[in-house]
């Protein structure tokens, strides 16, 4: 029962984001850096500069984020298995 409540709650949250989010954000989801940090920095005359290693804009950044997420996920999974081992399941005798 608790499992269904938790999964249902998370799916409700997901639906809330999908349905209400675009209205709240007017189709634009700026990061807090733009909405807060950059705004205050620019007002103070210290706008962010280009990163030292700039790999470009658009999908290339998405590519690097996905690579980073995949590597991070693999490392986490590798050590998780190392620490906790495979899940033992009960095998029913035929």
């Amino acid at each position: 029962m608790r499992k269904f409540v938790i999964v249902g709650g998370l799916l409700f949250a997901l639906g809330l984001v999908v349905l209400v989010g675009p209205v709240a954000a007017e189709g634009n989801w700026p990061g807090v850096d733009d909405a807060v940090v950059k705004k205050f920095a620019e007002n103070a005359g210290r706008p962010p500069s280009e990163p030292f290693l700039n790999f470009g804009e658009g999908d290339i950044q998405l590519f690097f984020f996905l690579i980073a997420g995949s590597v991070g996920g693999f490392v986490a999974g590798y050590y998780y298995r190392d620490l906790f081992g495979p899940r033992t399941s009960k095998v029913k005798n035929p």
Partner: protein, 247 residues
């Protein structure tokens, strides 16, 4: 019931991944925002904490054979969590959790500073997330402030009789808010100019509120799930045993 944590985690991970809308930068202070003297000062203040963490890693890994694997696991989690943009419908913006409160109650605050420093360095180098000149300030806010707040809140809550679940939730919630308060402090010190520091600090802090209040709650639940997962499987791995404080 035993499957609950895994179901919780898988669903949460799926939801977070599905919601990630692409590369954004959030709590991290971007390259070039801090004047040189402030950037240097935060580097100098952050360095002893990183050295302290490395020393503790060396000492503890001799006594705890599982520790390096645990640090690797938690480090990877912090890296992914702290660069994952999560849309917040109440604010209409994206931001990310920090993961340092969770890390602190799993591996301790000093080792959390080490893994956070590595995560922030990689993000600054390859993901244009944060910056090299602002690395010191980001380590102080996300690593030092986040880790010690999370750990301190957990220990205090247990000493005052809270259940481990409540303590873990409070650790995640308050560590997230503390990180953003720290970021507001570092920004305000550098940017207030001739104006009032307090006014600037409050203005930046309040601007974070609509996004970070719900994200702090999310981070609280993340802490509860992670703590429960490790506690159910290998409680001896935890640096903050569930028996502490409360009976």
């Amino acid at each position: 019931m035993e499957r609950l944590p895994r179901v919780w985690f898988v669903t949460l991970a799926f939801a977070l991944l599905a919601l990630s809308s692409g590369p954004v930068h959030a709590m991290h202070i971007s390259e070039g925002i801090l004047p040189v003297q402030w950037a240097f000062l935060w580097f100098v203040l952050a360095a002893p904490f990183v050295i302290w963490g490395l020393r503790n890693l060396r000492i503890r890994s001799k006594e705890e054979p599982h520790l390096k694997a645990m640090v690797g696991l938690v480090g990877a989690a912090v890296f992914v969590i702290s660069c994952m943009p999560v849309p917040v419908p109440t604010a209409g913006t994206c931001s990310h959790p920090c993961g340092t409160g969770m890390a602190a109650i799993l591996i301790g605050p000093t080792l959390t500073i080490v893994v956070t420093s590595v995560a922030l360095l990689l993000q600054a180098l390859f993901l244009a997330h944060g910056g090299l000149t602002t690395l010191g300030a980001n380590i102080l806010s996300m690593g030092v402030i986040g880790a010690f707040t999370g750990y301190g809140v957990f220990v205090l809550a247990r000493r005052f009789g809270a259940s481990w679940a409540v303590a873990a939730f409070m650790a995640g919630l308050l560590s997230d808010w503390a990180v953003y308060a720290g970021t507001s402090f570092f920004l305000a010190t550098a940017l207030h100019g001739d104006g009032s520091f307090v006014t600037m600090f409050l203005a930046i802090g309040l601007a974070f509120v609509p996004t970070q209040v719900p994200l702090g709650v999310l981070e609280g639940f993340l802490c509860v799930g992670a703590y429960r997962l490790v506690h159910n499987r290998h409680p001896e791995f935890l640096v903050t045993p569930a028996k502490w404080g409360a009976a």
